[in-house]
């Protein structure tokens, strides 16, 4: 037992671990040209995100049984999405009135109506004004109606300086929630959405995000509990989409189904109803208000964007109501685990190096792959069952580097050090 402990805490293992972390630090600082050393682990220098795997692979897993397709993940029947397509303001008003007559808990409208419609032609103007007055009347008559707003970012002060709303003829009669989402792109490019900002203080007043506002109408306690986390940025725990390809995780209706009353009367009672754009008709892929999300199996730019904005809001509402928000392991714990895992890897690899030097290349890789597999499994399982994001990134990177760096340490650094020491001793003896 004493031998094992002594072997475990051998100086070589400690120094090799320090050497690996020193090389890691060097890779971060200096751009190394791609070599056989770096290239196989090139991807691990990028941010490895296990949550993407849960959304794009595990949660979307489907069993096919000839004619039907089954997905294990539970749907959310508290949220109903209505696609208003390219309907006019008057028709949207009509749809709102129809839905409202079935006593939903709240209706959220994911659209801006910034200016009144106007035409120089006096006859057309009458027609356009009628559309606006229908929508304004709907806003006044419907209780529990929430419209989106937009926080305006000032580049010079790097803060939010104001809120953009729909025209007062609509916005004066409804509640507001900002619809801003955090993306790497802008309005004119394709965008990836992984996180959102739940609340902000604007001009001394607390403003909450659109999905948070809507969730509070069903469960105020859950919404407050979510806000009490006080996270500046929250990761979205995606449930799913509303497409034929990926499956339907929320109840969804098209504009003509609403206007033609082609739905069961029980569908809206006490539910959160979201009005938004998901194509001219349900199932159409367009480039308006559509994002890339972690549920997309391919990289940004290599496939169609996969989720409309309104569906992202639905996913956030689901996360709040089911309290399935993602908690993240602190960075320092991830780093500490990285050090421990690296050390254990060095011990095992060092043993292989000493006992089976000729087979080190093959056996070493097997040990590395095995440890990596275990770490990935723990990461993904923890995220899947507990919505807890473990940061094993440093650990996985060091494991993948350990094999080659241990060889460099043993054959170059350690041997070099021994030779230098011998030379010094020889000179002393002379």
């Amino acid at each position: 037992m004493k031998k094992i402990i002594l072997y475990f805490f051998k100086w070589d293992h400690i120094l090799c671990t320090l050497f690996i972390f020193a090389m890691l630090a060097l890779f971060q600082v200096v751009e190394i040209p791609k070599t056989d050393l770096v290239d196989p682990v090139g991807k691990t220098f990028e941010d490895f995100d296990a949550t993407d795997v849960i959304f794009s692979k595990i949660r979307k897993y489907k069993s096919k049984d000839k004619e039907i397709v089954i997905n294990d993940e539970k749907s959310d029947t508290n949220i109903v999405i209505v696609n208003f397509g390219e309907r006019s303001r008057g028709e949207i008003a009509q749809m709102l009135q129809i839905v409202n007559s079935y006593n939903p808990a709240v209706i959220g409208v994911d659209a801006f109506f910034k200016k009144p419609k106007f035409s120089e032609d006096s006859i057309e103007n009458i027609f356009l004004k009628r559309e606006d007055s229908l929508l304004s009347a709907a806003c006044q008559q419907i209780d529990n109606l929430v419209f989106v707003s937009k926080l305006l970012f000032d580049d010079s002060t790097t803060t939010f300086q104001g809120i953009q709303k729909s025209h007062p003829m609509f916005s004066n009669y409804v509640e507001m929630g900002y619809a801003n989402l955090i993306t790497a792109g802008t309005e004119k490019e394709q965008k990836t959405c992984r996180t959102f900002d739940p609340q902000e203080i604007i001009n001394g007043k607390k403003e909450v995000a659109f999905p948070v506002k809507l969730a509070s109408y069903i469960d105020k306690f859950a919404a407050n509990q979510f806000l009490d986390r006080q996270y500046e940025v929250e990761r979205i725990n995606y449930l799913g989409n509303i497409t034929e390809e990926e499956g339907v995780k929320f109840t969804v209706l098209d504009h003509d189904q609403i206007l033609n009353h082609e739905f069961d009367s029980s569908i809206f009672k006490n539910k959160i109803v979201l009005f938004g754009f998901t194509g001219r008709y349900l199932g159409e892929v367009t480039l308006e208000d559509i994002f890339y999300t972690p549920m997309n199996e391919k990289y940004v730019g290599k496939a169609y964007p996969d989720m409309y904005g309104i569906v992202i809001h639905a996913n956030i509402i689901h996360m709040i109501l089911t309290k399935s928000y993602i908690d993240v392991m602190p960075e320092w714990i991830g780093l500490l685990i990285g050090v421990i895992v690296c050390y254990i890897s060095v011990v095992f690899l060092g043993l292989v190096f000493e006992k089976f030097p000729l087979l080190y290349g093959t056996l070493g890789k097997i040990v590395q792959l095995f440890i990596t597999f275990i770490l990935l499994f723990i990461t993904i399982r923890t995220m899947y069952y507990y919505s807890y994001r473990i940061d094993f990134g440093p650990a996985i990177v060091t494991v993948l580097l350990a094999g080659d760096l241990l060889e460099i340490y043993m054959e170059v650094i350690k041997n070099g050090f021994i030779k230098i020491r011998r030379l010094i001793l020889l000179r002393k003896n002379k």
Binding site: I68, N71, F160, D197, K249, G276, D289, I310
Partner: protein
């Protein structure tokens, strides 16, 4: 005991009925597309099936060609999709759902063979406020001139490969650049012009891997100011033979060019969500009958419906 017996029996019957019904209710409809019909246990009649309907074990459903049905299994919350046309017993569908059990380990092991994806290069959360310029919402009824207004709806199908794209002249533009993108935002054609229109031959475009779905995005920007740009307009080149046959049958009813014929064609195109084709027909009808206020009024209403009334003075002969 005798007096309370009827009460007890009634309560028991109600309880049994409740339990039976609760057990019988197996699915709730989440989404429907196409023709889906339902036959209840006590009836021989097929009736349309709507979203939100609850399905019971004695019932049957029928899914048509190109139909889609999304269901949630009430006891477990699992989702089930039916995309293949046919007739299905609800009880059979429920059995398939309950017997389908896939463990996490099985899903994970299948993932292990797939390539791991990595996150995007930069972290937008490092300064999240700066990266919150996008909302998950749309603008409806926006009227201003700080962008180039293209005469097209956000999405439009076309039957004719030679499609003319027009836009409103912008005071800040010295010439225009018309870019054609594929669905992954790659430029596949670029043209420059000083006019306010351009004709694109959609049959000659190289769609690459998207050859099965001939869809392009058009953006028009000012040559001297890239920030002065239009909203994206998606054009779909519809090569449907059925549509072409329908149109040919319609055209066969008019032996020569007539304004009425064009109006009827405009109505046909409008029904098929083909804004550009419909607009062309309205214009041709007005050119043939320039004094007809009725035709002009119809065209105006058409433009108002698609929120482009400001184009009326540009494209009519007054």
């Amino acid at each position: 005991m005798r007096k309370s017996l009827p009460i007890i029996l009634t309560t028991l019957m109600l309880f049994v009925t409740f339990i039976t019904n609760a057990q019988g209710e197996l699915f709730k409809v989440m989404a429907t597309k196409g023709i889906i019909v339902l036959k209840k246990a006590a009836s021989a009649e097929w009736k349309p099936l709507f979203t939100g309907t609850r399905l019971h074990k004695e019932e049957q459903i029928k899914v048509s060609e190109k139909g889609y049905l999304g269901l949630i299994h009430a006891p477990t919350g699992k989702t089930l999709e039916v995309k293949t046309p046919g007739t299905y017993n609800i009880s059979d569908l429920a059995t398939k759902v309950t017997s389908n059990k896939v463990s996490f380990s099985e899903k994970y092991s299948k993932y292990v063979y797939a390539e791991l994806t990595s996150a995007e290069a930069e972290d937008p959360n490092a300064n999240h406020k700066k990266n919150m310029k996008v909302t998950g919402s749309v603008d409806r009824g926006l009227l201003n001139s700080d962008f180039i207004r293209v005469f097209a709806t956000g999405n439009s199908d076309v039957l004719n490969s030679n499609t003319t794209i027009r836009w409103m002249k912008n005071a800040g533009a010295e010439g225009y650049v018309v870019e054609v993108f594929n669905m992954v935002d790659e430029v596949i054609q670029k043209n420059e012009t000083v006019d306010t229109s351009i004709t694109i031959d959609l049959a000659k475009i190289n769609y690459g891997e998207f050859a099965d779905d001939k869809r392009v995005i058009i953006k028009v920007s000012a040559k001297n100011n890239k920030k002065l740009i239009s909203h994206s307009k998606t054009i779909v080149f519809n090569e449907s033979k059925e549509l072409a046959t329908e149109l040919a049958n319609l055209e066969g009813e008019f032996s020569e060019e007539s304004s009425l014929g064009y109006l009827i064609k405009a109505s046909f195109y409008e029904q098929k969500n083909m804004f550009l084709e419909a607009a062309n027909c309205y214009e041709k009808a007005i050119i043939l009958e320039p004094n007809s206020e009725k035709y002009k009024s119809m065209f105006r209403n058409f433009l108002v419906k698609y929120e482009l009334p400001e184009f009326y003075p540009y494209y009519t002969v007054d």
